[in-house]
Amino acid sequence: MSGHESSYTPTNGFTKWLDKRLPIVRFANDTVVTFPTPKNLNYWYTFGGILAVCLAVQILTGVILAMHYEPNVNGAFASVERIMRDVPFGWLLRNIHANGASMFFFAVYIHMFRGLYYGSYKAPREVLWILGCVIFLLMIATAFLGYMLPWGQMSYHGANVITSLFGAIPLVGESLQTWILGGPSIGNQTLQRFFSLHYLLPFMIAAVVILHIWALHVPGNNNPTGVEVQDVEKDTVPFHPYYTLKDSFGIVLFLIVFAYFVFYAPNALGHADQSIEANPLVTPAHIVPEWYMLPFYAILRAITFDLGPIPAKLLGVIFMFAAIAILFVLPWLDTSKVKSMRYRPVARQFFFGFVAVCLLLGWCGASTPSNPVFPALQGEDALVVSYTQDGVEATSTYKGGGEAYVDAKRFMDGLPEDASPSLSAVPAPAFTFSQLSLILTFCYFGYFFILFFIGLTEKPKELPESIHKSVLKRHKATSATTAPAE
């Protein structure tokens, strides 16, 4: 599983015997002890280890929660509350598991942005990147399935929105949706299969994580310079103890943030409607997914127009899935030979723009599409009197402050009796979240296409000769600035 030569020598009779039959000790030694790792990895690179911890925590707490959970529409909601109330430390397990999902996504997004910034998707690491995208896709599926299980209002109505997306697929959509739900609508059978799959997928994630690490260990780590390892002696350090310790430090810092949410703000990342038991007859005022899905939700809702024969709903679904699918082909969209954005002055600007676009898409996903983006710039609502005159419907609009209302009222009183006037407030036209989402959606996809052209024209900065040289150069620079002070 590791691309470097093994330096393991069995020391006693048993390990010699075992090494000839199943070289598992050699394997472990080569993978996590002697594995040569570039010496210039910064803290952004600790998120790989953090994610491994997240997965382990989710599986461990999840297995125990499953012992107490009741996958039944009549008992699911109460059983989750029973876990919080009557199971010893059940409140802790459940808070860890629920907030753990948020922490997992927080870490995976940083891990992905790190990969984008340092060009970790480029040759020879394309397969590594694609496996990472598969893990991300499985994570989204797992999180969505898991969100169903507490059987709250958002569980039910969120699942309704997402499964209806499959119904938008032409020809097979409706059958596909029925097949996924196990019936014409969400019911007990849906909850049970979601529970079953929610238990299955994490183990599939774990399997792909093993492939991901395998694909990492063949070419070795990328690093902030994007320059490949040339001299193992000078450019790298063994994984243990150097990176086991650095990663552990990063992991513990991350756990402090994690613990803050678990112990002091366990419900801060959730939605209040999740504490209302699912009721198919009452739809929540605003259906919103968990925060980590919001950018994709915004893309889904951004498309409000039909394109030729494609209805808006299907187009939204296509764009939402394309937002993830495009990551799979990114290694071939980016034409630049230079990996790290450190040496790509133009692409780097676009990268930071892309991060901002993703965050703003999240904001759009959380907001009501018809609301104005800048309420402060919103003009005053107009008053519209609707009435019928000689059998024809007519309207009269009044703008302004209180006097507009007086005028409208006077106009209504002056109308003949059979006019049946009614007064309503119509918001002034404004720049809405729906429009912002559409712009941002094009920016999101635009980033990937612009990378193609930047790569062809951009003049990169001079690359360091090697990892070793870049480290020395940086040290010289810092000692030069500190020297006069001595």
Binding site: V252, A272, H286
Partner: protein, 346 residues
């Protein structure tokens, strides 16, 4: 470049701040004066208040609202309002036993003959539900089933402050009046079904009896943080309460259809089927606390906050050692990391 990064960071902060902001047409719930004792990293429940809150629930709320996720034993568990260290098992706690026995329930298990008897509750029993099922609850309450209160504080934006604001937020009686409205005479042209000689549709005028409406003078409703269209151009709005419903500025909803006045200044909030419940001295507190509406709302909101998460005390008390442990571990790992890497230029 720098400016661009600062801009990106600013936008990031803005979007997170905006995400945290909850939407809704209702007035923003406010805390009681002095805040909640259970908030913050070290906050604990004020147990005498939670005890009084149980009394308010028992004597007022429980006639309509169930709390199905709670059992009487919960009242005597560690962190609960009637916990007694002498009785670590709440089923033995005589006070909790007495509180349970105060309620007569239909036994959930059959007797030796297979019949279901009425009997006094035991600490192991669930809180008694006022209605046999949701349909019964709906039928008895004008079509709106009163929500279960077990996790109500977790289930509403604003939590305990929402409960407190809602219970104390009904408009003052000075703002409420009634008026008699004679609906406009509906004139139907004779013979409009096309058969000129049909006597059944020759009724030229349909008169409906006068209706008594309850109206609220919005200029007399004071909501913190909301500026009412107070008498602007002499036109103070009136809010017409639908029959059997009550206006509350903290209830989610839309008042525009019921508002007589400038629709752009319709008051926040909505209508709910529950009228004001906590009138002065609705309960008599054993500890001599004066039962003002604010006091009762404060106590019952705190009781419901406890009921929504009875393990909150355990959560916070475990949080501190965990944080200290992680803090020490961070320091140790930092020094180990620095020591191991000291000879490596990186």
């Amino acid at each position: 470049m720098k400016a661009f990064r600062i801009l990106a960071a600013g936008l990031a902060g803005l979007s997170f701040a905006a995400m945290a902001h909850a939407e809704g047409g209702a007035a923003h719930p406010h805390e009681p004066e002095g805040g909640w004792p259970f908030e913050g990293a070290f906050g604990q429940f004020d147990l005498p208040s939670v005890q009084r809150g149980y009394q308010v629930y028992r004597e007022v709320c429980s006639s309509c609202h169930s709390m199905k996720l709670l059992s009487y034993r919960n009242l005597g568990e560690q962190g609960g309002p009637f916990f007694d260290p002498e009785y670590p098992n709440p089923n033995n706690n005589p006070y909790v036993k007495a509180l349970a026995a105060d309620v007569e329930i239909l036994s959930p298990t059959p007797n030796e003959f297979g019949d279901y008897d009425f009997r006094p509750a035991t600490p192991a029993d669930q809180f008694k539900s006022p209605f046999a099922n949701e349909n019964a609850a709906r039928a008895a309450n004008n079509g709106a089933a009163p929500p279960d209160l077990s996790v109500i504080v977790k289930a509403r934006h604003g939590g305990a402050s929402y409960i407190y604001s809602l219970l104390t937020g009904y408009p003052h009686e000075d703002a409420i009046s009634t008026r008699e409205v004679t609906p406009a005479v509906v004139t139907t042209p004779a013979s409009d079904n096309g058969t000129p000689d049909d006597p059944t549709d020759d009724i030229a005028e349909v008169t409906t009896p006068a209706v008594i409406q309850t109206v609220i003078d919005v200029s007399k409703v004071h909501i913190a943080g909301h500026d009412a269209a107070e008498g602007e151009h002499g036109e103070a709005g009136l809010l017409i309460q639908p029959a059997g419903q009550y206006y509350n500025p903290f209830m989610a909803g839309d008042t525009t259809p019921q508002y007589e006045g400038d629709p752009r200044h319709a008051p926040p909030g909505g209508f709910l089927s529950m009228g004001p419940q906590l009138l002065p001295d609705r309960v008599t507190y054993a500890d001599g606390t004066e039962a003002t509406p604010e006091q009762m709302a404060h106590d019952v909101a705190q009781f419901l906050a406890w009921a929504s998460e009875p393990k909150q005390t355990n959560r916070k008390s475990l949080g501190l050692p965990v944080m200290i442990y992680l803090g020490i571990l961070t320091i140790l790992l930092w020094f180990s990391y620095k020591r191991v890497w000291r000879k490596i230029e990186h």
